[in-house]
Amino acid sequence: MREFDAIVIGAGMSGLAAAIRLGMYEKKVCLLEKHTITGGLNSYYSRGKRRLDVGLHALTNYMEKGERGKPLAKLLKQLRLPYDSLELSPQKQSRILFPEKELVFTNDIEFLTEEIAKNFPTQVDGFLKLLTKVREFDEVNLDNEFLPAKDVVRHFIQDEMLLEMIFCPLLIYGSALEDDMDFSQFVIMFKSLYLEGFGRPEGGVRRILNLLEGKLKELGVEIEFKKSVTEILTQNNIVTGVKLESGEVIHAPLVFSSMGLPETLNKVFPAIHHQTPIGRMSFTETLYFFSQKPADMGLNDTIIFANQAPQYAYRRPDSLFQKESAVICLPNNFTHDDQSEGVIRLTHIANYDAWKALEKTEYKAQKENLHNYDFDYLNQLIQRLAPAKNAVQKTDLAFKDLFTPTTVERYTWHLGGCVYGSPEKTRRGLTPIKNLIIIGTDQGFLGIVGAMLSGISMANLYGLQGETV
């Protein structure tokens, strides 16, 4: 029987980062991954000769080399990665597009402030006060209590349309809750999107994963693929190790799990009673590859947060996917374009149960419907943003691929195909089982940067500083 100082379940962003930290300080660490590759929710795949990223729209928390005290800088130092290794290129500009109003933002908050002054002149003073509040707030304090963010922000912003517009990107890029978010999470997202901004590592998510895998190799930590944890073993509510699908038992006095909170608690043996809710937010994603670039179509933004209704309904729709809103990501439109084809990704909020209920032929037909819908959506967007340009034709498409909430579930084993985890987070990483620690999404830090910082901080706290729980 194999014995380790610590077991890390999952080689997604948080698990990879946690394993690196533990390995750096000579902990004997066992990193288990059910899939055949790393990345989890932010992985990659190939179709023919095309290389596709599952998740990467943008790396949040953009910084220039040498900027101090930034979350990305902390992360890079903790993992001993030089800034240049990311080959990060900043966004051009992104757009929040509502029926009658639009706001453009860049990686410089002054730009958004001016946009607000122009479009909502009575609101700009409140927005500036909100900025001060956000800057001064200690959002990463593990003891922060839950506070509904919209209530707080309404003290500063009275125009409901502007409020919805500010919240739209923040919700869809990181809220496990429907319609609202925790104020700490609001501040995290506000800083990562509006104060720091978007960047793209050259080559997409593979660059990040290659760097992390390279570090593990240097440290002599092996990633064990196709190792599915089926039971988390305990004795008197203290973790003792894990059991794999193969029947193998691995022992360790400390287990870090990135599977998600309900997913983890479901595997505890002997079983424990818990009522951790499964997250309801999942998405469809349509990926288009064109021979022409988005700029040729008149689309010059990096990411467009589009919403055709006056209110932004960030919640699970009754239908397969929510038709009114979409995120349109144009990875060519970073300062440096690293792709030979034009790539357009469209994301909708989606209903996992509705997709799950479809049988095979119906599922295929509905994916085709989604494609048709998205193609029209794209042309409507072109018409609104670049009326002088011609519509794109389906015959212009070199390649397309679509995925749904059930695809997310199939490759990441997140219950309900949920992307932002359970609405219930465990900020200190603790579970009812001693020394069973939650990392990543359900510790409350998500996105690529957030998940890695979570893995790092939990490994530091419980693995290296020996905080007893």
């Binding site: 000579e26 040498g66 005290g69 902390k74 130092k77 903790q78 001993r80 030089p82 290296l464 500083q465």
Partner: protein
């Protein structure tokens, strides 16, 4: 071990952590925090590297003694000498 050697050891550790900072221009009398992008997580790493690479232990109550390069050298030199 001489203070200059201890200084070099500390410098190497810092250079390894603050990969993007220029450590050749450190002023030994000014707080490291004010010259380099180092936060409390990084100071913990310095402590852990000292232990891992050189078996030198720094108890938590002594962390303030690592504030400047000068104070690092003053504090750590006897510890390194005690090892020999």
């Amino acid at each position: 071990m001489q203070p200059t050697e201890v200084r070099q050891i500390v410098l190497d550790i810092i250079a390894d952590i603050a990969l993007d900072d220029d450590v050749t221009k450190i002023d030994d009398s000014i707080a490291l925090r004010d010259q380099l992008d180092l936060d409390s997580m990084d100071f913990l790493d310095i402590v852990m590297e000292l232990k891992k690479q050189h078996k030198v232990e720094v108890p938590q109550e002594d962390y303030p003694k690592l504030a400047t390069m000068e104070s690092c050298v003053t504090y750590l030199t006897p510890k390194f000498q005690a090892l020999q």
